[in-house]
Symmetry: C2
Subunit: 155 residues, 2 copies
DNA sequence: TACATTGGTTCGTGTCACCAACTAAATGGA
DNA sequence: TCCATTTAGTTGGTGACACGAACCAATGTA
């Protein structure tokens, strides 16, 4: 009965989880980055600048990203009232629907994965992961609850 | 004291883990895919076809991937003796060195992340993750110990 | 010998990332 | 007030990466 080293386990798990996200997203003809964009926008209406920070991308990358999403009718650029230079990015209805669909499917996938463990272990795993992430985020001064992945939380 | 849902936790964790891998790889001017390629080759000398299956990519994607890696002197194409159509891909010394370096740094990063948990929890988390992955792999008829991520295991 | 299959490459297209250069609006002195 | 500077965003160039389709060469098979 072989077992993975801690590092290999986490790496493997990460590839697996993001791989399923990518596959689900691809079923709807969006990339993983697009999906992340939609996820981030589910409960935010950031400027391009803020979006770049949120996604960890260069602002020019965000320009292109939003261009493509806008062309597909998933997001819209709204002029900012406060600052005429800046632009707010917000989900369209279609974008919100797509985010919800992909999010739900992804959630089902991960839930299915978790079900390879008995319920008690599931809760334990989730607690440990959560604890580790919260500690890590705190140590880096990151607001964990402001950079949630595509799944987001229910509105 | 907020806590993440199981799904969000795993998603967040996955972004974090692969993000650090990507950053480490970037320090050596390789992408995450290149790194994965090197990792897969650490204990294998597959044909292009096998490589495509291993990485889950189209064979044409692997052609390009290997092209770029070869141009950098990280891998080499070796003609197959058994079948004159096929090509074996193997690490060069430079590629092996790079794989080892990035692997070690990544391992240190993940270890540091795990150290946000007390030692006992660390072991528990790792056991749970490993159990889940092994069960998942078995259910899908996948040979888990033949598709390890870049970290690989010591030779 | 013919025909289909398999292994790889090449080509065209699209996404995505970065940097550098640029415009336009806002801001901060002097 | 006026001008230099900073800030927000876009554009253009380059490169990695992914895919499918079309293609050649070697292998199998009928």
């Amino acid at each position: 009965m072989p077992s993975l080293s801690p590092v290999d386990g986490l790496a493997q798990l990460s590839f697996l989880v993001l791989g399923t996200l990518e596959r689900r997203a691809a079923e709807h003809d969006v990339s993983i980055v697009q999906t992340r964009l939609l996820g981030v926008l589910r409960d935010r209406r950031p400027t391009m600048q803020e979006l770049a920070k949120l996604l960890g991308l260069d602002k020019s990358s965000v320009s292109g990203l939003v261009d493509r999403a806008e062309r597909r009718g998933l997001v819209a650029r709204v002029p900012s009232a406060a600052d005429r230079r800046s632009v707010l990015v917000s989900l369209t209805d279609a974008g919100r629907r797509l985010a919800a669909t992909v999010g739900a499917q992804f959630e089902a996938d991960v839930t299915a994965l978790l079900e390879f463990l008995p319920a008690a272990d599931r809760a334990r795993l989730s607690g440990l992961v959560s604890g580790m992430l919260v500690a890590h985020a705190a140590a880096h001064g990151v607001d964990l609850f402001d950079t949630l992945p595509p799944t987001g939380r229910p509105d």
